[in-house]
């Protein structure tokens, strides 16, 4: 098992060099990128070094207060498949879910990567950190999760906060948050942190974040909340295939009613899609098989901060984020209804006279719903 047996794969820097860019170009790119994501100058070296490092990027994946749904979702990724990520793309040097070693050997593997690749490894965190009672509500190897995070974060090039637990605390941080479950960005400062919220995040989104880093040599562009824009810039509502029913005022009134069988909008039975930023409507789940709304259940808003305390599951959301403080869903629905129902009718009549009866029925139903919404 020597290192000489096979030709080395090029590192990112070598690849860049081969393509005719100078080290100066490379450093310029790295510093621009680092400035863009708002890091201090000291971080530039770290990111550059991470990209220049071994052929497979060293990754440490810590588990704190979590349910392992993020790890499970990660292994659901269909492109790339996880076997290829693990064998060809990254070196997952520590993860309690999959690693062969336990106990002291596991801790040795963690320590080895932290020392050998200081400043170069990516730290993934699954789970929140309980800070109550000096941290004793989560202990691994006799240390608290607070101690472990502090040690592992210090030498990380960047941190990925997987899922809603690490991004915003998720279920254990719901009121009254008895263990003081705390997300990562409130505990670690001075490092780039990529938040990938969702309970769990979509598997292909998780793989996508890692692949972005590997393919483009930089962390993905983040929004003001620290989420990759590629996956969290649209509301589920905006990309929902049931959106036309919302615009037309056609709603499921109760589960399993005739409207549910016809796939009408789930807003009245509690859908949080209008206030939830995620890629579910576009990418769907499990390699595009379905997503909650397609399977008849309202979006529960699992990628939003404090979603457990933002109203009951089946209660119609009264306030929508992103539309100004005064606007609520009812007025929005009405405004949208007036404009779109007419447009829908015009469009539909022009393109398909044969469906006019159906469209008239829908319009009548829409008026009825509109009337109800006004009450």
């Amino acid at each position: 098992m020597t290192n000489d047996a096979l030709p080395k794969q090029p590192t990112y820097y070598e690849e860049v060099e081969r393509k005719g860019y100078s080290r100066r170009d490379f450093m310029k790119f790295v510093s621009l990128m680092t400035a863009f994501i708002g890091l201090e100058n000291t971080a530039i070296g770290q990111v550059a070094k991470a990209l220049e490092t071994k052929p497979r990027l060293p990754v440490i994946w810590l588990h704190f207060q979590e349910c392992t749904c993020c790890s499970e979702s990660f292994i659901r990724s269909s492109h790339p498949i996880v076997a290829d990520i693990l064998l060809d793309k990254i070196s997952l040097d520590y993860t309690e879910t999959l690693m062969a070693a336990s106990g002291t050997q596991a801790e040795a593997a963690l320590k080895n990567t932290m020392t050998k690749y200081k400043g170069q490894y990516i730290l993934c965190v699954e789970g929140s950190v309980p800070t109550a009672a000096d941290g004793v509500y989560c202990m691994i190897g006799g240390k608290t999760s607070m101690q472990i995070l502090e040690e592992a974060a210090e030498g990380a090039a960047a941190i990925i906060a997987w899922g809603s637990c690490a991004s915003n605390g998720c279920v254990q941080a719901a009121k009254p948050n008895p263990t003081s479950a705390t997300p990562i960005h409130k505990l670690v400062k001075g490092k780039p942190i990529i938040k990938v919220p969702g309970c769990p995040p979509i598997g292909e989104v998780m793989a996508g974040v890692i692949v972005h880093y590997l393919t483009f040599g930089r962390i993905p562009e983040l929004d003001r909340l620290g989420r990759p824009k590629a996956f969290y810039s649209k509301r589920v509502h905006d990309s929902c295939y049931r959106r036309p029913f919302y615009d037309a005022g056609l709603f499921v009134e109760t589960f399993d009613d005739e409207n549910a069988k016809k796939g009408y909008c789930l807003y009245k039975v509690g859908c949080k899609g209008p206030s939830t930023y995620n890629a579910c409507g576009v990418m769907k789940w499990n390699n595009g098989t379905s997503y909650p709304i397609q399977s008849g259940h309202p979006c529960i808003g699992c990628s939003e901060e404090n979603y457990w305390d933002n109203g009951r599951l089946y209660e119609r959301a009264s306030h929508f984020a992103g539309f100004g403080i005064e606007a609520n869903a009812d007025t929005l629905g009405k405004v949208a209804l007036g404009v779109t129902a007419a447009a829908l009718a015009g469009h539909a009549i022009a393109t398909n006279i044969g469906k006019s009866k159906l469209i008239h029925e829908h319009q009548a139903e829409g008026r009825e719903s509109e009337h109800e919404l006004e009450q």
Partner: protein, 574 residues
């Protein structure tokens, strides 16, 4: 003189588990199992809408995903006397079966295999011989010499890179590894294939529940309306998709998982007399065929077995206050009436109180309290739950389908029925019930198609969804058989809100600390007398602990009655 060793973290499990063991003359003399993470979810549930509980408790575990949500909706339906439509029962059953084969295959290959399969040794295998062996035990098509030699080349390249990733620091070359290189190579090949396959079978959950992990459930039925003439509903395309996934799942179980399991087991028959432990088994039962309330119609029959006596199966009643009780004598909690008492979950109380050593620490004080898990008992007995318990109760109840798979496995391995009471028995039972559930899933699927064809498209009973129709107070119990064993939730609803919610979960039964009488629970009991060849590489401990398939996030979830919180401490400045 015995020597105390600590294994923490135990990896390839869900959550955070620590084992301390005393070793004397190469064997384990005493063992202590400790759960070291707590989230206090039951406190968070108090005062919330019972209809929402499934979403909260679903997040107890993402590995046994769906199963807590199922238990929760059943628990609320029990309290409110809601009978769900047959189609909803069938969809829940189909999702249950898909979950089983997913969970068991992933456990076998990704969480347990490396206790038996020496990955590095697979590099020494002869691809041609490996191919011959693979073809002699299964008709699975990926078995050519070229397939195995390509894999070997890929793994050699991986190992030669010097970055061993998830395989780093394994106990490779340990004398307890007994498989020929060719079997190791087959195991490694199927590790990777299973990793790819597992993402497929869970699509059943995505179709009915919208996503996996954490599919959606609904009190009263399921939200996936049947609309055979609409693109949104459960229509012919969606149903055909489910049928294909279930069929492919069954093929993988029968042509990959079971042949591998039997091949590996044949080299480790000595583990048929190691790790037996308690000999008491508890099953709540599941997979209703005539409604959830008719226990006699369950595919997995309920019952309890004591002292390995399979000639007698006892009935279990979760509502009787003297049957299931939880103790905290060695757990980091306090009871009002004293720490020696046992409490039925409807009266469950717990106030968390950590009295362990201040971290960082080397050892727990195992004479006192040493775990965040409470200690459940059935009529005072420590019980093992899980696949072995289910298979034994099915076998002891004289169910033909159980007898068929068990007797065939015993005959093929040429071992007596007593070999089931062991680490190997536990691992084998998981495979045997995968064979059963893979077939049952298809049976339920056929029934669902027949119902829809006959015009029954009901999927949810909504007449009691509005909480104003509820009684002022209601008590309910929901139970299931999670992949890891008997699981139940107890709810107390007052004024349309959750007044108390208690979960007693499989890994709490198995991994809990000692009770008020000093009786060990299943993990600790199973470790006693386990040989440990090299105390610096306690591979044998992992074999027995992994044979239970630990799920720690499930097992620790209790509430803090006083809501005590201590001031926030920032780790890295503010």
């Amino acid at each position: 003189m015995s020597k105390r060793i600590v294994v923490d973290p135990i990896t390839r499990i869900e959550g955070h588990l620590r084992v301390e063991a005393d070793i004397e003359n190469g064997k384990i003399k005493d063992a202590y199992s400790s759960g070291t993470m707590v989230r206090l979810l039951e406190e968070i549930l108090r005062g919330r809408d019972p209809k929402d509980a499934w979403a909260f408790v679903g997040r107890v575990c993402g590995v046994c995903t769906s199963i807590h949500s199922l238990t929760s909706v059943r628990c609320v339906e029990d309290a409110l006397d809601i009978v769900i439509p047959p189609n909803a029962e069938l969809v829940r059953n189909i999702m249950f079966c898909a979950q089983y084969i997913h969970d068991h295959v992933v456990h076998f290959y990704h969480l347990h295999a490396m206790d038996w399969v020496d990955v590095v040794n697979a590099l020494k295998a002869d691809p041609k011989k490996t191919s011959e062996l693979a073809q002699s035990i299964s008709k699975w098509p990926k078995s050519s010499p070229g397939y195995f030699s390509d894999l070997q080349t890929r793994i050699k390249k991986f190992v030669d890179s010097g970055q061993l990733g998830i395989f780093a620091n394994g106990y490779w070359g340990h004398p307890a590894y007994k498989l020929p290189a060719e079997v190791n190579l087959i195991g490694l090949a199927h590790y990777l294939e299973a990793l790819e396959w597992q993402k497929e079978i869970v699509k059943v959950h995505a179709i009915f529940g919208g996503k996996n992990p954490h599919p959606n459930y609904l009190v009263g039925g399921m939200a996936c309306a049947i609309g055979v003439d609409d693109v949104s509903g459960i229509n012919a395309e969606r149903l055909a998709y489910v049928g294909q996934l279930l069929k492919d799942g069954k093929d993988f179980v029968e042509q990959v998982y079971i042949p591998d399991l039997m091949a590996v087991a044949s080299f480790y028959k000595d583990w048929g007399s190691i790790g037996g432990g308690l000999g008491n088994y508890l099953v709540y039962g599941d997979l209703p065929t005539n409604g959830y309330r008719d226990l006699s119609g369950y595919k997995f029959p309920a019952g309890a077995i004591l002292n390995k006596d399979i000639s007698k199966v006892y009935d279990v009643d979760l509502k009787k206050e003297d049957e299931v009780q939880e103790f905290i004598t060695h757990s980091w909690y306090e009871y009002k009436e004293g720490d020696d008492k046992g409490l039925h979950p409807w009266k469950g109380e717990s106030k968390i109180k950590y009295t362990g050593p201040k971290p960082p620490f080397e050892h727990l004080n195992t004479n006192e309290k040493y775990s965040y898990l409470k200690t459940p008992r059935w009529k005072g007995h420590a019980m093992e739950v899980g696949p072995l318990a289910r298979v034994l109760v099915g076998y002891a109840r004289g169910r033909e389908d159980f007898k068929a798979v068990v007797d065939k496995a015993l005959k093929d391995l040429n071992v007596p029925v007593t070999a089931l009471f062991s680490t190997l028995g536990r691992t084998a039972a998981r495979g045997l019930e995968s064979v059963l559930t893979a077939q049952w899933g298809l049976d339920f699927y056929d029934q669902l198609l027949a119902n829809i064809k006959n015009g029954d498209t009901r999927m949810a009973e909504m007449s009691k969804f509005d909480s104003s129709t509820w009684p002022k107070s209601a008590l309910g119990v929901g139970h299931t058989e999670a992949p890891r064993g008997a699981l139940a939730h107890w709810i107390n609803i007052q004024d349309e809100k959750i007044a108390n919610y208690q979960l007693v979960v499989p890994t709490t039964w198995n991994a809990s600390p000692r009770d008020n009488k000093g009786q060990m629970s299943a993990y600790e009991a199973a470790l006693i007398d386990t040989p440990v060849a090299d105390e610096k590489q306690p591979l044998e401990i992992l074999r027995t602990i992994h044979s239970f398939d630990p799920c720690m996030a499930c097992s620790v979830h209790l509430y803090d009655e006083d809501g005590t919180t201590i001031s926030r401490i920032s780790v890295l400045g503010d």
